[in-house]
């Protein structure tokens, strides 16, 4: 049981990083990234490929952040000036392209076989259980560090500019801030954090494949950020742990439905995930930890 809890907490920590990444641009700048799984994949593959080629793991993880951020800029430089809806759909398409490349470019990614044997730092020294404990600490430490950096950012002038842009892009433009540049930087940071999460996942699992990075993961992270509270890092943090608690908790409800086939039990579980999502949106549209700064009254579109 304990090793299950340790595993779930580690996964929640990695989800937490993704939630912070999403919160930075969604809560921060009002941009929606439906391609989160794509940036997660880019980071995971970057770190895996580099470390399999002999680069030390810490360096590979750092490189994954940089590659993630660069990909973020590449994917959005043309679209960052678009309305939110357009950006959302472009990022959704981006994630699909990442999956296609991972599937088809065998020379780089080993195709649909995936990359096994990704170095897991210190695992040979610590053994499986020691490694699990160590990795949980590592992920939580990194999550904590990113969390505090983002909180600092939230309160910094850059953070305030971001929020101003979210509320009214034109106004922020008038005030002399280069809105496009600020948004691009925010998106790059966000993609970098998603890349970091991907790298941590790859070294934790030692195996990644194109199948790992399906859109469902992005949906889970949206669930985390929405339920925790958009616009507040602590909300994203809390939301990620709640999502894992919920996803894992619903497994134990199966026997409450006797007489259903295996397929129906699985369908019920997914329905429950959707329903919970809807309920949270209805009951607490601002999330469990709402943003503390009241947003300026927004003009009716």
């Amino acid at each position: 049981m304990l090793s299950y809890v340790i595993f779930s907490l580690t996964t929640a920590g990695i989800y937490g990083l993704l939630a912070l990444s999403l919160n930075l641009i969604w809560g921060g700048a009002g941009m929606v990234n439906l391609g989160l799984a794509g940036f997660f994949a880019v980071g995971a593959y970057a770190s895996a490929i580099l470390s399999l080629a002999g680069v030390p793991v810490p360096l590979a993880i750092l490189a994954a952040c940089v590659v993630g951020a660069a990909t973020g800029i590449g994917a959005t430089w043309a679209t960052v000036r678009l309305r939110g809806d357009y950006l959302a759909i472009v990022t959704l398409g981006f994630a699909e392209v990442v999956r296609l490349v991972a599937m088809n470019e065998r020379w780089l990614t080993n195709g649909t076989d995936g990359l096994p044997g990704i170095p897991a730092p210190l695992k040979s020294v610590l053994g499986p259980q020691g490694f699990a404990v160590f990795y949980l600490c590592l992920v939580l430490a990194i999550l904590g560090a990113v969390f505090f950096l983002l909180r600092r950012l939230d309160l910094s002038p850059f953070g305030r500019v971001l929020k101003a842009i979210r509320e009214d892009q034109d106004l922020a433009g008038f005030a002399g801030k280069n809105a496009m540049r600020v948004k691009l930087i925010a998106f790059a940071c966000s993609a970098g954090i998603a890349g970091l999460a991907g790298a941590l996942y790859a070294h934790y699992q030692s195996y990644i494949s194109p199948d790992h990075f399906q859109p469902l993961l992005t949906i889970y992270i949206f669930l985390a950020v929405t339920s925790g509270g958009v616009g507040r890092p602590a909300g994203a943090f809390l939301g990620a742990f709640l999502v894992i608690l919920f996803l894992e908790g619903t497994r134990f409800l199966g026997h409450l439905l006797p007489g259903l086939s295996s397929g129906q039990v699985a369908a019920s579980r997914e329905m429950l995930v959707g329903l919970a999502f809807l309920l949270v949106l209805h009951l607490r549209p601002q999330g469990i930890l709402p943003e503390r700064i009241r947003p300026a009254p927004r003009s009716q579109p």
Binding site: D85, L92, E96, V97, M103, N104, I219, H282
Partner: protein
């Protein structure tokens, strides 16, 4: 040269199918200003509805399609009332995200009821007609014909009926519509019924052409979105043009790139078009 003509024909036929749900998506966006991610599952619902009517109730194809429209429109209205409309004050993005949840629930309701097995309409299949080295399927032509008729009906509805005119007015300017004494709520509901109903028929037509399982609609989410975005969200002629362009683009691309990258073509097309026209081909606003 024949290759190119054939690819264009194939593209138009596929595009005509994608166009119907894309019109539904864009109509809802035009009036209610949110992107409805549930359309994938709504299309699947339409396919299952038409399939049930055709194979279990013994209805012919056309009435089954009409039945799919009505059933999915009713489902769409119920969803809008129960799950989405109250979220509108929280912003369009919140509604869009809630529609993702609705999509998950719908897909799994279908899975619960029908299982994951494949279904197909109980219709004989016809060989293609061949001429000048090209080939066209009679059934594809028929399906494309139905799609065209639906498009024509929608355009006529928007141009000549009171509701249609009101929808266009609200789409252009919500405040203006209020001045004309039209109740925005009823117009919104009529739009939801039209948009989701179209998506349902679109799904049924796609099911007629291929096969149906609980994920058949969600597999098409990307091309549908790409079509609507390419044409400019909110523009109904744009959705049709976008769908046909993406259809042709995908088929033509097969002549030069591996078939596995077909899905990427739609994405690259929208990236390219949006770089030059940020509002899409027929988009009304730039940002």
């Amino acid at each position: 040269m024949t290759d190119i003509f054939q690819a264009v024909i194939n593209g138009v036929l596929t595009g005509a199918l994608i166009a119907i749900p894309a019109m539904g998506l864009t109509a809802i966006f035009a009036v209610l200003r949110y992107v409805n991610f549930a359309i994938g599952s709504l299309a699947t619902t339409g396919a299952f509805a038409a399939w049930m009517l055709n194979t279990h109730a013994g209805w012919p194809v056309l009435p089954s399609m009409a039945g799919a429209f009505v059933l999915v429109a009713a489902a769409g209205l119920a969803i809008e009332q129960a799950a989405l409309s109250r979220l509108r004050p929280s912003g369009a993005l919140t509604v869009a995200i809630a529609s993702i949840a609705v999509g998950i629930i719908l897909e799994n309701m279908l899975r619960f009821g029908f299982g994951n097995d494949l279904r197909a309409f109980d219709l004989p299949l016809m060989r293609d007609w061949r001429f000048w080295g090209l080939r066209v399927g009679p059934q594809q032509l028929q399906t494309a014909g139905i799609a065209l008729a639906i498009m024509a009906a929608v355009f006529a509805f928007l141009r000549f009926t009171r509701y249609g005119k009101a929808m266009r007015a609200v789409a252009d300017n919500p405040d203006l519509a209020r001045l004309f004494g039209m109740e925005p709520r009823r117009i919104a509901m009529a739009t939801v019924a039209l948009g989701t109903g179209l998506t349902g028929v679109g799904g049924a037509l796609l099911g007629l052409d291929s096969a149906i399982d609980p994920m058949s609609g969600s597999r098409l989410l990307l091309p549908i979105f790409a079509a609507a975005v390419l044409g400019g969200l909110g523009s109904i002629p744009g959705a049709v043009a976008g769908a046909i362009l993406i259809g042709i683009g995908e088929e033509l691309s097969l002549l030069v790139i591996p078939a596995t990258y077909r899905s990427a073509v739609g994405f690259l097309t929208i990236l390219l078009v949006l770089s030059f026209r940020p509002g899409g081909l027929f988009g009304e606003r730039a940002a």
